[in-house]
Subunit: 480 residues, 2 copies
């Protein structure tokens, strides 16, 4: 073999695309709704078999009450080692699909095309529709195909891989930390690569260095013990919906700044390399504002990427009495808000929630974690119930970490387009558990941006599957 | 006849209580759910017959699409005339009844007692359970019984009565103004008396001089065109629930004062007699605070009766996204509040709603009566939709009006307990139409305060029925 391994694998997958799609179809036909343990066990076995067939030594580990974790190693053990994190569970299917979610279907635009056989043409702009086609089984097939292509070309990988294939990501990975603690000695790697999520909206590949953490709370203001006639009691008995409005207005000012004492104190400021990476990101603001139909961002002229480096305070929901045709003339008994806080690097969920509690106390509230007693009702003018969800911290690898540059170069070469180095995504992933493995953590998305992740008609653009094959080929053949 | 007419009628109804209850039972057995035209026609005929049998000249008038109005006159036409307003329709029945709502049932405490026959004892603390027993058929039976007693005693009434018996009160009396305009010439009276609602919580009789008016609005803040992922967009795209909280906080301060410019400007201040009546009302605040389970009123140490003389601003409901287990990590697309404004004497619904609109404009809102266009979304940072419900003005007869003292004296004598003169109730009734008859309007409640009006197990305490008989007896025999 004198050709570059990448050329060889590209040639291989062009010739064997029909076989790749057949194997992908089989994997996708396995229902993998998160939480469905029997189904997830079938997926775990299939995923382990997929990599065993490519020479990896795989093991399906199962802790009581948890979906299995599929782990294993590919390689000799004396080479640089990359950790590969993929999740094999999927979101619930919901409704609105044009083909059944576990009946993988190929389409060319709106037109269904039959799965190809040997020698049939396969077009890069076809899409494969199925739950988990993009999120997150695509990387498994991409890796298997890269390994098949390298074997076909007689190329020995230059790095080892260790695997952490999660069956509970869509449920928040509640048992991942426990699995990792138990397996820690077998999961050493020079870096852990998370294959999940979509490439940039522009179609450019991206190397993502962080995700936000998460915590949240339900806040309920307690008014009278029951709804009261607004004519007989309104204007005299305090209205909990008004109190809630006043309280929420104290959390964030009209300019988008959270006014909770210390809210931004723990956040790690971006380093020089992070700032450079942020500055290099293409502007997306005008397009996004047009798409979502608003006149401007919360903070005038702010850039989305910059705002994602800070913790957020978002009101997810409000509830009191009824509105519209269902509204009744009452003073509501309670008024509730649901809030999610996205955490930036350095923020700690428990500290954030403590600040929220202190903020409420400072604004005159008796803060309870249960409903008030009659005695408390008579003694306190402002009573709130705070139900906190602790969540998990953010993950952020500094852009100056040596392997980041290596990965960005490989992504650029695989895609034939300059890869973006993105210091942080807006979303939260329960990746913090992986940071206990003490290696740099980098996210390498493969799927197209319009993959309908979590929704009906989830799909993978074949061009993005081939990008994944190329990226794995380079990861396997270039030493970091 | 040498006895006082009141004594004579009391003696009559003691002897004939079984007959009164039999006639009441028959009237209550007629289903009268508001909006059920065929049922309401049967009620209108029964009510007209009831009074025709007592010598009134009755007429059932029916405008297209409306429940009938029963009108008529009792008397010679050359005497002082009192208008009698009663409504013969009832609330929908709902669920939770211990006996069917249109199967009138007598109970002594929890124990059902058979309807009495001639000579059987009847106790004042029995209750008659039925939809409309209290609200609002009791005054019709009380009047009929008073007339029977007077005839039995050979007493000629000293006043005439004209009747306005409404079949749509529980639907907001949408056609009442039209009926009154058509019948105006036949409805002249020295005062119009509204027999509806309960006596005071303390059990004392009351003469009520006003009810609040009503207007309201639905306010919807428009954010992004659809719910957005709070991780990807939160902290950058404006959150409509936060904007709503900020806006609501501008409407009413934390001390309970409405901060809309001009909100209190039109309200007629109470006169000397009104202030004296307010001061004479027994304190109810401590008992009510205990009952509703709050530490204090919105405005510290304020009295309920004083607050009812001012317009109110009450948030009936809030809606945005979801809360609790249903909450999702989104920036909501819209956030809505439903508000009712109770109007005091002098306030005009259209002026109040204009002030609300101006307040929103002053706080930077583009105020629409429809959803925004794409162009509006891109041009305006704060967009709200305001859907207004115009309602109706308040009614208030000044406490210094000559007939008020007369009525209070009669109520005191009928009840054997000092009657309260109440300048204004908290609730709203569509009585404004009656004020086009250009006579003082006074509400004379008969029913017990715990009558479960509008709810399951509506009931009338017989003692209150007898109070009604006595009150009508005095109204008929004492010239104002």
């Amino acid at each position: 073999m004198h050709r570059e391994p990448l050329d060889a694998v590209r040639s291989y997958r062009a010739r064997h695309a029909w076989r790749v799609l057949a194997e992908f179809r089989e994997l996708l036909a396995l229902s993998n709704v998160t939480g469905d343990l029997p189904a997830l066990r079938r997926n775990a076995a299939a995923v382990a078999d997929l990599l065993t067939a490519r020479g990896a030594r795989m093991e399906v580990v199962e802790h009581a009450g948890a979906a299995p974790l599929v782990t294993g190693r590919l390689g000799t053990g004396d080479r640089p080692t990359l950790g590969v994190y993929v999740h094999y569970d999927g979101q619930p299917v919901g409704t609105g699909w044009h083909s059944p979610p576990f009946t993988p279907t190929l389409r060319d635009g709106d037109r269904e095309v039959p799965f190809p056989g040997p020698g049939d043409a396969v077009h890069d702009d076809w899409r494969l529709y199925s739950r988990a086609a993009a999120d997150d089984k695509a990387p498994l097939i991409a890796l298997a195909t890269a390994l098949d292509g390298l074997r076909d070309a007689g190329v020995e990988p230059a790095v080892d891989l260790v695997f952490c294939l999660d069956g509970e990501e869509e449920s928040g990975s509640p048992h991942l930390a426990g699995y990792l603690d138990a397996l820690r000695g077998r999961l050493r790697a020079d870096a852990w690569l998370v294959f999940d999520g979509p490439v940039h909206h522009s179609g450019a590949p991206q190397v993502v260095l962080g995700v936000r953490g998460y915590c949240g709370f339900e806040l309920t203001v307690h008014g009278p013990t029951r709804e009261l006639h607004s004519g007989h009691f309104g204007n005299w008995v305090p209205n909990p919906a008004l109190t809630l409005a006043h309280l929420l207005a104290t959390f964030k000012d009209e300019h988008g700044n959270v006014t909770v004492q210390g809210f931004y104190d723990d956040t790690a400021p971006p380093g020089d390399a992070d700032r450079a990476a942020l500055a290099a990101l293409p502007p997306v603001e005008d397009v996004l504002l047009e798409r979502v139909g608003v006149a401007g961002p919360e903070i005038p002229d702010s850039r989305l990427a910059d705002r994602l480096m800070l913790p957020s305070f978002n009101i997810r929901g409000l509830r009191a009495g009824d509105v519209g045709d269902a509204a009744r003339n009452v003073v509501p008994a309670t008024a509730s808000a649901s809030v999610d806080i996205r955490l930036a690097a350095g923020d700690r969920p428990e500290r954030m929630l403590r600040r929220v509690r202190e903020h409420l106390t400072a604004h005159g509230c008796l803060v309870l974690d249960r409903d008030p007693t009659d005695a408390e009702r008579r003694a306190h003018h402002r009573i709130v119930r705070l139900d906190a969800a602790l969540g998990y911290p953010a993950v952020r690898t500094p852009a100056g970490t040596p392997i980041v540059r290596h990965l960005a170069e490989l992504a650029t070469e695989a895609a034939g387009e300059e890869a973006l180095t993105v210091p942080g995504l807006g979303g939260s992933l329960p990746l913090h558990a992986l940071s206990r493995l003490d290696s740099p953590l980098v996210i390498l998305p493969i799927a197209n941006a319009d993959n309908n992740q979590h929704a009906a008609d989830e799909n993978l653009l074949l061009r993005n599957l081939w990008y994944g094959v190329d990226l794995f080929t380079l990861l396997l053949t270039r030493r970091p």
